[in-house]
Symmetry: C2
Subunit: 415 residues, 2 copies
Amino acid sequence: VATRQSGPTRAGIGQRSETVRRANLSAIVRQLHLRGPLSRSALVAHTGLTRTAIRALISDLVAGGMASEGPAIQLGIPGRPSPIVRPDPTRFVLAVEIAVDSLAVATVGFGGAVFSRVRVERPRAHLSVDETVAELARLARVVLARRPAGEGPIGAGVAVVGVVRRSDGFVSMAPNLGWRDVPLGERLTQALGGRVPIRVANEADLGALAEWRRGAASGVDDLIFLSGEVGVGAGIIVGGRPLTGAAGYGGEVGHVTLDPAGAPCRCGSRGCWETTIGEDALLRLAGRPAGGGTLEIERVLAAADAGEPAAGAALEEVGRWLGSGLAGLVNVFDPSLIVLGGLLGRIHPYAGRIVEEQLDRLALPAPRGLVRIVPAALGTDAPLLGAAELAFEPLLADPAEWLGQREALAAMASA
Amino acid sequence: VATRQSGPTRAGIGQRSETVRRANLSAIVRQLHLRGPLSRSALVAHTGLTRTAIRALISDLVAGGMASEGPAIQLGIPGRPSPIVRPDPTRFVLAVEIAVDSLAVATVGFGGAVFSRVRVERPRAHLSVDETVAELARLARVVLARRPAGEGPIGAGVAVVGVVRRSDGFVSMAPNLGWRDVPLGERLTQALGGRVPIRVANEADLGALAEWRRGAASGVDDLIFLSGEVGVGAGIIVGGRPLTGAAGYGGEVGHVTLDPAGAPCRCGSRGCWETTIGEDALLRLAGRPAGGGTLEIERVLAAADAGEPAAGAALEEVGRWLGSGLAGLVNVFDPSLIVLGGLLGRIHPYAGRIVEEQLDRLALPAPRGLVRIVPAALGTDAPLLGAAELAFEPLLADPAEWLGQREALAAMASA
C-alpha cells in the first residue's frame, strides 16, 4: 500500500494536548456508534489507547450523558470480566430521503439502531418543492411521535437525488425531480421548526457512506458506490475518505459523456452514462413504457427469468454500457471494490457476466485485476441510513462539544 | 466547505504522547522543507504549536543534524528578533524522470533547493529497460560527483510514464515506452548500488505533487493535474490528499473511452482520450508525421501563429476533445483547479477558449462554475521535482526515525 502524502496546509498544523483528548474521545465515540455496546477491553483493542486513558474518557462520556457503563457479561473467558460501555440511545437523529419515486423518514439512535421508519411511494408526476417539504414534515412528526420519552433529535440528515452544495444544503439541480436552485437545507430547517441542525447531501454519496460504514464495503478504503434508479450517481471513497469535491458536487458520474452520438439527457447534454443505464434506458430497450418505475422494472426481470428474448437483450445492452462506464472509473480510481446500488444492484445477477467482460476488454489490466463488483448489502435503504450517518457526524467528530453543551444545559436548568 | 467524515478503520486509532511528539516534529520539518529557512515566530504561526514546544523540537532537530539555528535577521520589525532555523542541505535526494523523449536526473536538498540537474533527449526508438537503467545510473554518477562533500543521498524518487504499483515500483505497463511487467524499483536499486531506498510513481502523479507543493496549485485542496505528451495521465488531489488508488494505479484518465467509435489505442482498447489529445493526435490532425516529438509540435504551434489553417484547425479539434474529457472529470471530481502540464500546457494559449466552451456545454453548471483551468507553473520539470518530493516523504512523515538513525550511526562511529 502506498504511503499517502499530506499537503502543506494540513501538515502545518501541530497538535496540542486538548486537541489530542478530543481526538481520542472521538475515536471511542466512533467505535461505540459503529459497533454498539463494547467492553472496555474491546475499546482498548479497537482504539489502541491505554486502559488508563480509556477509563478517564469513558467517565467523561458517562458524566456527559452520552454513554452508560454496565456490569460485565461473563462469556467463559478466563480473567476479570471487563465492564460494558453502552451508547446512550436518547441521542438520536432524524434521517430523510428524497428519491424520485418515494420519500422516507427514520429515527436512528447513537449506536446505529433504527427506531422507526416510514417510506411512502409517490407518483412520477413530480411533487413540487413545497409539497415535498410539507410531506416530509408530516412524516417527521409521525416518526417523532413514536419516541417514548418525547425528546428531540440532535440533528437531521437528508439524502436527495440532486447536485448538492454541502455547506448549506443548496440543491443546484435535481433534473429527475424537476428542481433547480432550491435552498432545501433552509426550507427543511423552517419546516422542522428551526431548532434541528440539518445537513443535506447527494443520495449516492450517502449510500456510499452507509455501505462503507455498515454494508458491503466495510473496511474497504478505495471504493465506488454506483447508485442507479432513474438517475445515476456515485458515492466515492478515496484512501479512506469520501470524495466530496471542492463544494460537495463531486460524484456526478451519471453525466459523464459515454457516447458523443448518444441520446439527449435531462441535464441538457447528450450521451450521458445515465441515458444508457438508467431506469428509462432499460425500459425503452425492453420495449416497455419509460417512466414505468420500479414496478415495470420488476416486470422486465420476470420476463427475462421466463426467457423472453427482448428482456434478456435489454439487460445485456444495459450491462454492456454499465461495464464501459465502470472501465473508465476503474482506470481513474483504481478502486478495490465497486458496489452497485438501487436498480443496478437489482440487475447485477442478469448483467454481471457482461459487465466483467467489458472490464476485461476496456480497463487497464493492472487496476482491473484488483477490483471486485458486488451488489449493495443494505438494499434501497442505503441512502437513508447514510443520511443518519451524516447527521451523526458532528457528534462523532468532536463529542467534547456535545458533552459541554449538555453540561451547560443542565447548569441552566438548575439555575 | 463540507466536513469530511472518517472511516471506521482510521478513526479507531487513538493517539499517544510519543505519536504526538512525532507528528509535531513532522509538522515543523514539512514547513522547513516547503518554505526554506524560517524564524521561530514563523514556525509558531505556520504550525499552531506553542513557542515552548517549538523550542524543544528545534533543539532535537539541531542535535540530530537536520537543521541549524542562526542569528536573527533584523528586518526593522519592532520587538526581539526571532532566531532563524535552516534545513540542513547535506540531507538531499536523487530525483529521476523517465519520459518518452528524455531522461533526467537531479539532486534536490532538504528545503527544496535543486543542486544540479541533467536531462538528455533520446530518440523515439525506445530504449530497452537495460539501456535505460544503465543510462540513468551513469547520469546519477554525474550529478552525485558534483556534490562538494561527497555524501550520499537519503533516498531516490523516480517518475515514469507508466502504470506503477507504489509498494515496490513495479511497472505493470508503460505502452509509450514499450514496457510491460518491469520490476523497475528493483532494477534501479541494483544499478544504484543497493544502498539508497527508491520509490517509484507515475509521472503525472508526481507532476501533480510538485505543482501542488511548489507550483500553480499551491494551497488548493481539490485539483487535477493533467499531463499530456505522447501519453496522457492525471495526478489528482482529493480533499488535500493525492489519489493513488488501491495499489497506486489511479489517475489513468488517458485510457478512459471518450469515443467508442474512435481510433485504436496502444493499450489495446479503442477511442481512449489519449488517442484524441496526445502528441500524435495533434500531429496527425495537422498533417505532420506522428512520432515527430516536441520539435514537430513546436512547428505546428509556429504554423498556427503564422495563420496556417490546418494547424489552427488541428489545435481546435484537440481543444474540443480536451474540453469533452475535462467536462467528465469536472462532473466526477468537482475540482477547484485543473492544471495542464507538458504538451497540454503548451497548447493552452491556442485551445483555451474552446476548452472553456466545451465545459460550458458538457459539464454540470454547479461544478463547472467553480473550476479554473491554468497551464502548469513548473513547466516540464514538474514530474522530476515531484520525484524529489516523493523521495523526501519518509523523512517528512516521521523525522524522528531519521534523528535516531543519525544518533545510532554516531554512536557506532565513536565506539
